[in-house]
Structures are given as C-alpha cells and as structure tokens.
Symmetry: C2
C-alpha cells in the first residue's frame, strides 16, 4: 500500500476492558483522556466500547474495531492477577502466539528483584509474538503494540504515561469554537440548523445545561478542519444570539 | 415464548450517542450511573458502546446490541436541535415509521405554549411508531421504549430521572464484598487465583491504586449471586492478607 499523505484523517477506537467498569465500581476516565489526546493529534475517535474480563468478548470487540479503524487503544487487564487476560485475548484475536518477552522479563525482574519476581508477576512479561513494547514509566510493566492495536494499562496515571510515549502521526488539526449563552436551545435551533447547512464542512453540536441554582443555557460547539468555515459558523451563531439580546461568550 | 422465571439473570447494554463524548468535550457519566442502577436491579450490564451523531453508526450499534442482550439503554440525541437524530435512528433500526406522538405533542405544547412550540421543539414529539413514552419530570421532552430498547436523554439529571420511572424486572441480587489493603497485588496474586478457582461462582477482581503521597495498595472485589460463596471467598482473602500482617479493611 502507498503511504498515505499527512493530510489524510486517521480514525481510532477505544476498547475499555474490565468488569469494574460494567459493574459501576469504577468510572472510566481513560476514554475521555484518550479522546482529548487524539483530538490534539488530529486523529478522529469514532467509537468506544467497554467489555468485561471475558476472552471471547474481548476478541470479538477487538477484531471488529481493528478492522474498522486505523488505530485501536485498549485499556485494562495487563496486571499480574488472574483477571488480567488482555494479553492472551489480544494474541488470540491476532492468531498470534504468546510468551515471555525477554526485554519485558528483564525489566520486571530488575524492578521486583529475583526473589519478588514470582510466577504471577512473570505473567506481565507475557507478550504476543510480534508485538513491540510500550514503555511504562510509572510501574515498569509494559504495554505493547501489535498491528494497529495499542494495549495500555487501566490505571489512569499509567495509561496516560504510556500514551505520551507513543509516536502517532499528526493529522490535520481540528479547530473548535465553543459559545455559551443563557438561552434555551429550542429558541436558536432553527437558525442553528440553517447555519449547519450553510457550513457542511463543520459539525455543530448543541448541549443544554442546567445549574444547581436553576439557571440554564446552551453550549454551542463548532468543530471542523477548515478554520475559515468554523469561524464563519461561529460568527453566524454569535450574530444570531445578539438578536436575542443575551450575553454570548466564547469558552476558552 | 414462555415468561422467564424471576431467578433468570437478564443482561443489558448501554449505547451512548453523541459527538461530544468522542471529541472529549464531555466526560460520560451516564454509563456508570446506569451500571450501578442495573446492579441494584440484579441485571448484568455486559457491554457499553459510544457512537457519534451518525445515523448509520447508531443503527448498526443498536441492532447489534438489541439482538445480543435483553435490554439496551441509549442516552443522548433526543433534543430539539439538528444534531439530535436518535429517534430517527432508532426508528430506522427497527424498520418502524416515525411521527408526532399525540401525548408527547400535547405535553410539549403545554410546556412551551403555542407561541413557543416552534417546529424544532416539535421534533421532540416525533416518536417511532409502536413506542411507549418514558416520562421526563425534569424538562418534559419524553424518552421512549420500543421493543427492548429504552431511549433516554443525554443530560445526566434527565437520564437519571427517566431511569427512575422505568419498571424493570428485579433479578437475583448480586452480592459484593470489597477489601482494601496496603499491599502490592503481585504479592497476593497467586493465592487470589487459587481462591477464584475454589469459588468459581464468584468473580474476583483486583484493582491496584496509587495515592498522590506515594502510598499504594489494592482493592479486591468479590462479586456473585451466591452470598455464601462470596463470603467464603472474602474470608479466604482476608485470612491470606492477615498472613502478611497488613491492615485489610472491608469497604462499605
């Protein structure tokens, strides 16, 4: 295949792995962090999924996502305990073997010491064949990349540190303007639809909010890769809001 | 089909709809809330997905999830603006028509008044044929149920109020014990795996944590529908932790 030009927009998905998300024990924050990280890279996050610690479900979701998008980022399931089955599931999804990765084994052994490097901790050195390690500057146990899949830890601080080490292509920048105004979205919706039609290269989102003291309003978000179109849509929205005499503000 | 016995475990999925989640603008909290809500109902949340405001993607995800699970809960995309396309997408997924629902139309007209009930606000009264309304005690615009799919608002306070109005079957209760201890999970992992094997009716999860002041530890969670098995596994874990002389505590 030809190498794509840098102006090509790459797509991505997130696959969160862990019973603790589906039981409600843990509020996932990795998806939001990865979404903002990819936004700065000009990569479009198109889908996210959460599955439990069940190999068949991880394999099915991963195979669907890696076929549909340029990149997949998984979080969770790469620790030392019996419920950490991500590496095996990823290997199964790729039809790859799995075994001790010499570099991962050596760095974990150095961290825990020969006496502390017990068989369960050794599990963290089991990496699918053909994968490249992703450095973990927080707690040593590495993530890995195989094909278009990046396997990250579930602990947010570690997932974030791993993301920072990745070399991803810089895609075309997404420009965004957010305008907030104390007005019901239903009053501006008709004009908003017309502005969206006028500026089809942008995506205009409308997000109502309600505060605890009974105030309400709307945040209008214009996003797109053509900054001229984004600014034109934002200016049209601001002009419309001025007609209502409400104080519209851009959110920095 | 026969009516299932009340001891049958029902499954569910969440489908979050909205560009704002995938761009990172908004941290989704509805999935976590629904997860905990379903946990109390004894219903197992098995999967969650996030898709953007794109009809084809909503339809594909919804059709996959409603075929795989007993219930699907969607959030987002039922407001008055052009980017609110959930009702149309759900109708398309079911191959159902869509049009003004008389009751929804009447209650929205009453809320906004004849003069304020403009064509965009009228969109919120468009409900797929055959669907039943879900009451919105916060801002009037209803959700709806069609087949095994419950369509809720995206604004968390509204989504939560809608959930409270639903009549869902009470499934067999899930018992859970959480034990926290200031020890590295890798030190207890081998015994933990053995306890999991001894108590196959439970699911034991191990979640390491790190605090800002450099302390660390692990939360061990035992979940299951057989309370005897859950308590036996928890007691075995506590006995193991005592062997290390660390202060293990149950988290209430």
């Amino acid at each position: 295949m030809e190498k794509p030009p840098s102006s090509e927009v790459k797509t991505a998905a997130v696959l969160v792995i862990g019973d603790e998300i589906l039981s409600g024990r843990t509020q996932d924050t990795n998806t939001n962090y990865i979404a903002r990280f990819l936004g700065l890279k000009g990569i479009d996050l198109k889908e996210a999924r959460v599955v439990g610690d069940v190999q068949g479900e991880i394999v099915a979701a991963l195979n669907a996502l890696r076929a549909a998008y340029d990149f997949v980022f998984t979080t969770g399931g790469i620790g030392p305990t019996h419920d950490d089955i991500t590496a095996d599931a990823v290997a199964a999804a790729f039809g790859a073997g799995i075994g001790f990765h010499p570099e991962a084994y050596a760095l974990l052994e150095a961290r825990y010491g020969k006496a502390g490097f017990n068989p369960m901790r050794q599990r963290m050195a089991r990496i699918p064949h053909g994968a490249a390690l992703i450095e973990n500057r927080v707690s040593a146990a590495p993530g890995f990349q195989i094909g278009n899949v990046f396997v990250l830890a579930g602990v947010p601080a570690i997932a974030r540190a791993m993301l920072e080490t990745l070399v991803l292509p810089q895609g075309p920048k997404v420009h965004a303007v957010t305008i907030t105004a104390p007005i019901a979205e239903g009053r501006v919706a008709e004009r908003l639809a017309a502005i969206q039609k006028d500026q089809p290269e942008t995506a205009i989102g409308s997000y109502p909010f309600y505060t605890a003291d009974g105030a309400f309003g709307v945040q209008l978000v214009v996003r797109g890769r053509d900054d001229g179109a984004v600014q034109a849509a934002a200016a049209a929205i601001e002009a419309h809001l001025r007609g209502f005499g409400v104080a519209a503000q851009r959110v920095i």
